[in-house]
């Protein structure tokens, strides 16, 4: 019977969504058609009820607009003090979000969802404050009028004639947990208005004439009701989804809205949003930048950018396509993304132009067979009206001093084109003069045409037109009867004139397009190259510091903005980097903004919707849901960061940085695990080795000592002496053993700190020889230190240990009395210290194995030592940045050589007077 069980993935997504919702606070919107319908009143009533249920309810901010019955409802509710801000001489009362977050009530009332905060607040809009409250798990009651809904904004301005600037993204409305419609029939509202219950009397007159016309109110009411009905519908769909009721709508609707740089764009986006919301479809907004559009002035391009960001805010995915052919680009994109509905503006070309040059819409209709196309008509304005730029200030900030863009010296270049046009015409004329009479006039014209083509190709339209005009003039004056006169006897030459002109213009246009294409291609190629370089460098980076250095350099190169990446400490608090910065580093990032970004995994700062007052822009460096750090970038030019393609590039950068960071962290983790495994293995072999090697001397000590204790009186002094000496010897052996084990443990654990100082080699050798003088008493030891060996910058105690171990090994594995040599020499940039003997040498193939822990050439109890000696040597030499190797000498015997790097700066001595 359960034929239509929900898809498990979908179900999982639902569960996740519900879980996320459970953590978030719940948002209830009191929704009305217009001011005065009683939203605040209803909200306060509801709040009082909650209060009566003993819920912790406070009033964050409520506008009573002087209405007494509303104000009366405030009695008995705790009110959060407002933040007072001095703005241009006025004291403004603003909602205090920090106080609210600190107070942490269960439910907070924040009136007027669409309110715009005073500049300098954390968020520009109140709805963003509310989002943060919800994130923090606080329930919120708020109120909203239908005209403030972003997607309806446009329609309502058409109905009412009044444009509302304070808007709320539809997503906020859609994601609200509850929406309560506060409804009042228009007549009653008008009555209330007349009674002065809505506005103070002076404003009533004005209000009634403009906004509160009955027709307006009816339309608004309808919109509000419809919006609420849509929500109920959406709830119903959710319910059906929950309960595995079979979907009835067509699945996988995808809508593409195509915009251009004109007035229609914003309306297209809003229309797309409504269509998408109605169909519950994914939607995208595409802007095709043709070479012609790429040459638009910066303000127009910024306006397009603004529209794209509006679309993002409305929930669309945006994309900028770069192609000379608008319709082809759209179709290709639509096919690639499985689009089945396209929303475009009505063709801008009309009449004969459309018929002759075609229109994007016509091409779309004829090529996109499975795609429904929706056309949106423009209003009375001229089609190419410049967009109103609302947030123009955002993009018009002057760049920091010293970074103003230089005006390229193009004028000179253009001027040069005209000179060339004249020159080429003169050359053609000279040629024509020489050939005149020998060649047909038609062929002479060809020569001139060639010149025009050349000019068109190299210098563009203006010079090519000049060249054609001059050419035609020259032909007319010099080669066409009547000579030396501009009169044209034969009207045929008018055709020559026209063709030359057209050829010139057409070719120069073509060339301009080709060049623009080449520029775009070059730009893309450069971007690809940059990304490739970054990913290659990041892939080879070994440390977090490397990654940061690479990232900072490339970000600086690409966005010409100083930047810095901040990382958190173990407690999750961001810190300034400890390493000295690069020249490209940003100094003085605002840690509090960065911390907000880190905690919320959203960007903030200049040009964004959060803390736009900050000087820099802050981006989370995150992979999946884990925020690894924060990038702070001080933009030299906001456009360089917020242009869609630049933003994509930045996103890719950030993703690559995050992945590189993760890779390093994982590999560190893996290394750690590997080390732990290694340590575990080592501990096991150590235990078995120790238990054997410690027990042997212990057995001898216990035996000797107990013999001494038990038979004190019967023993000769000779026997007693022998036993005592045996105890001393064995104890010393144990001491060595234990010391070695402890050394190894310290070196392994990495806790052995290097106390590096400058030492003459002979002093180190001297210490070693005096330490071992007992063991070496019966051997000649030849010390040879080359006079050019500089002082060593080492931890002397450790290097001494190396030589002690090497010498001890030599005495252990070579016949008693055989000679040993210690040699120190310099080789290029290294200092080599070697210990050689005249014993049997190292068994073949074991040169490397010798340095492993617990390796012993011969397992004889008489020569115990756990086989740690050489492993310790290697560990010590390696922490000094050197190497150690053992090999056999051609004349017999083994030689162990320690190679240490020669440190660059040997100490300077002031000469003694």
């Amino acid at each position: 019977m359960n034929l239509e069980r929900p898809d498990p993935d979908q179900l999982l997504a639902r569960v996740e969504r519900d879980a996320a919702k459970a953590k978030r606070g719940r948002l209830k919107i009191f929704f009305g058609a217009a001011a005065g319908v009683g939203k605040t009143y209803a909200m306060l009533l509801a709040a009082r009820e909650r209060r009566a249920e003993n819920l912790d309810v406070i009033v964050g901010v409520v506008e009573t607009h002087g209405r007494q019955d509303t104000a009366a409802l405030l009695n008995g509710l705790e009110q959060l003090p407002t933040r007072q801000i001095n703005y241009r001489g006025n004291v403004l009362h603003e909602f205090d979000i920090d106080a609210a977050l600190k107070r942490r009530p269960a439910l907070i009332l924040v009136d007027e969802l669409a309110h715009t905060n005073v500049p300098g607040s954390r968020h520009p809009k109140r709805w963003q404050d509310i989002q943060e409250l919800l994130e923090a798990g606080i329930d919120v009651y708020t109120a909203l009028n239908v005209q403030h809904l972003e997607s309806l904004n446009d329609d309502i301005s058409q109905i009412s004639g009044i444009r509302v600037w304070e808007t709320v993204p539809d997503t906020v409305f859609e994601e609200a947990d509850e929406v309560e419609l506060v409804d009042l029939p228009p007549d009653e509202l008008l009555t209330r208005l007349k009674e002065g219950k809505v506005y103070i009397p002076q404003q009533v007159e004005l209000a009634m004439r403009s906004f509160f016309r009955k027709g307006n109110l009816i339309a608004l009411r309808e919109l509000a009701l419809r919006q609420t009905a849509n929500r109920v519908d959406a709830d119903m769909l959710d319910y059906r989804e929950d309960h595995a009721i079979r979907e009835v709508w067509q699945v996988g609707e995808r809508i593409l809205v195509c915009i251009g740089p004109n007035m229609l764009a914003e309306r297209l986006v809003r229309a797309g949003k409504r269509l998408a919301a109605g169909l519950r479809a994914d939607w995208m907004v595409a802007y095709v930048e043709t070479p012609k559009l790429a040459r638009l002035p910066a303000e127009k391009r910024d306006a397009v950018l603004r529209i794209l960001r509006l679309a993002e805010q409305l929930g669309a995915e945006t994309v900028t396509l770069s192609s000379p052919d608008m319709s082809e680009a759209i179709i290709r994109f639509a096919r690639a993304r499985n689009i089945n509905k396209i929303v475009v503006g009505k063709p801008s070309r009309r009449g004969w132009k459309r018929w002759l040059l075609g229109s994007v819409v016509d091409v779309l209709i004829s090529h996109a067979h499975n795609i429904n196309i929706y056309l949106l008509g423009s209003r009375q304005q001229r089609e190419d009206d410049v967009l109103e730029i609302v947030e123009s200030s955002l993009f018009k900030k002057p760049p920091p001093p010293g970074l103003r863009q230089r005006i390229p010296p193009r004028l000179q270049k253009r001027y040069r084109g005209y000179v060339w046009a004249v020159a080429v015409t003169i050359i053609s004329t000279l040629f024509g003069h020489l050939m005149f009479g020998r060649l047909e006039l038609a062929n002479l014209v060809m020569v001139f045409l060639l010149g025009v083509v050349y000019i068109a190709m190299r210098f563009g339209r203006g010079p090519s037109i000049l060249a054609s005009l001059l050419g035609v003039g020259m032909i007319d004056v010099l080669f066409v009867r009547p000579y030396f006169s501009l009169t044209v006897a034969d009207s045929q030459y008018l055709i020559t004139f026209a063709v030359m002109l057209i050829v010139g213009v057409v070719i120069s246009n073509l060339m301009i397009n080709v060049r623009a294409q080449a520029k775009v291609a070059a730009h893309r190629e450069r971007r690809a190259a940059v990304l490739y370089a970054v990913s290659k460098e990041l892939a080879t980076s070994q440390t977090e510091q490397d990654i940061v250095t690479i990232a900072v350099k490339h970000l600086y190169a690409e966005f010409s903005s100083p930047n810095v990446i901040l990382f958190p400490d173990t407690a999750g608090h961001l810190l300034y980097p400890r390493q000295p910065g690069l020249s490209q580093s940003l100094r003085g990032a605002d840690l509090s903004v960065a911390q907000w970004v880190f905690d919320h995994n959203e960007m903030a700062g200049q040009g964004t919707y959060t803390l736009p007052g900050a000087a820099a822009i802050y981006f989370p460096v995150s992979d999946a849901d884990k925020v690894l750090g924060v990038l702070a970038l001080l933009p030299v030019n906001l456009r360089r960061v917020f242009l869609p393609e630049q933003q994509k590039l930045l996103e890719t950068f950030l993703r690559q940085i995050a992945q590189a960071l993760l890779r390093i962290r994982f590999s560190e983790q893996a290394k750690l695990t590997q080390m732990q495994i290694e340590a575990e293995r080592l501990r096991n072999s150590l235990l078995s080795a120790i238990s054997h090697d410690l027990r042997t001397p212990l057995a001898s000590i216990v035996g000797s000592a107990s013999t001494l204790a038990a038979n004190e009186n019967q023993m000769s002094s000779q026997d007693r002496r022998e036993l005592s000496l045996a105890i001393v010897d064995e104890a010393e052996r144990m001491t060595n053993l234990v010391n070695n084990i402890l050394d190894m443990a310290r070196l392994d654990a990495g806790i052995a700190e290097l106390n590096k100082q400058w030492y003459p080699v002979e002093e180190i050798v001297g210490v070693v020889l005096s330490r071992l003088h007992k063991r070496l008493a019966d051997r000649p030891v030849d010390v040879c230190i080359a006079p050019d060996v500089p002082m060593l910058h080492v931890d002397a105690v450790m290097i001494e240990q190396v030589l002690i171990n090497l010498l001890e090994n030599a005495t252990r594995y070579t016949p008693t009395g055989s000679a040993l040599e210690i040699r120190a020499e310099t080789f290029e940039n290294n200092i080599e210290i070697s210990v050689s003997d005249h014993g049997p040498g190292i068994p073949k193939g074991l040169e490397e194995k010798l340095f492993e822990k617990f390796y012993q050439v011969r397992h004889e109890t008489a020569q115990s030592g756990v086989g740690l000696g050489l492993a310790i040597c290697r560990a010590i030499v390696e922490v000094h940045g050197g190497t150690i190797r053992g090999k056999n000498q051609p004349e017999g015997g083994a030689v162990f050589t320690v190679t240490l790097p020669n440190e660059p700066m040997p100490p300077q001595f002031s000469a003694e007077p």
Partner: protein, 234 residues
């Protein structure tokens, strides 16, 4: 135990070590008193008027350095410190604070007795004022009053710093002199961090005084601590 026997106090928390020290030192004719904590040790020192103190650096109740500081506030009593192998830092601190010598555990009793003798003799000489200003050890003679240095009867010319360095070690012959102490005596405080100066001059001295500078007979390095002018009975 006669009245004139030198008095030694051992401050050490390990019973076994105290026991063997006591036995060995009594056999050598010293009178020995013991304490197992720093506090008790200080009390013993106050009451027994010892000639020498053997102090373990790893005491349960207080840092060995504090004990030395407390003693040095009022006494020049010779102090020999005992340290474990991984207590290099404490060892240097103890010597810098005025301990006379050190031994690293485990050590042989011969070594300890030799150190005790040097320390006691040094203390005596200090008391007798520095009248006996000629140091002779092996073939090396350092005449501090005439500023003459000779090896096997051959006079050696030294630069002023070389001489000052040798003189410091000779005045404290047999005792470890830490880098810090040598620096202060030879150069004065401003150069305290340039230990390699000492090493450089020490190397020059060895080339002049020793037969084989890599196997010094007189100027012995105490690795990581400083230098000692070796005298015959060690």
């Amino acid at each position: 135990m006669s009245k004139t026997d030198p008095v030694i106090i051992i401050v050490e928390d390990e019973m076994a070590i105290r026991q063997f020290l006591r036995t060995a030192l009594r056999l050598q004719g010293y009178s020995v008193f013991e304490a197992d904590t720093g506090q008790r040790g200080l009390i013993e020192i106050g009451t027994r008027k010892p000639d020498l103190l053997i102090l373990d650096l790893g005491l349960p109740d207080m840092d060995g350095a504090e004990v030395i500081k407390a003693i040095r506030a009022w006494s020049t009593l010779p102090i020999i410190v005992l340290s474990a192998r991984n207590q290099e830092r404490q060892k240097v601190d103890a010597l810098d604070l005025g301990a006379d010598d050190y031994l690293t555990k485990p050590f042989g009793i011969d070594e300890l007795i030799a150190r005790i003798r040097v320390a006691l003799r040094h203390a005596n000489r200090k008391e007798q004022s520095i009248s006996n200003d000629v140091l002779v050890t092996g073939g090396l003679t350092v005449d501090l009053s005439k500023r003459l240095v000779s090896v096997d009867g051959r006079e050696i010319a030294l630069t002023p710093i070389q001489y000052r360095l040798l003189a410091v070690l000779a005045k404290n012959a047999g005792k470890v002199m830490t880098h810090r102490q040598i620096m202060k005596e030879v150069w004065g405080p401003p150069y305290l961090d340039n230990v390699h100066y000492i090493r450089m001059y020490m190397s020059q001295l060895r080339h002049k005084l020793e037969i084989d500078p890599a196997k010094p007979q007189y100027l012995v390095t105490e690795s990581g601590l400083g230098y000692r002018l070796k005298i015959n009975d060690i």
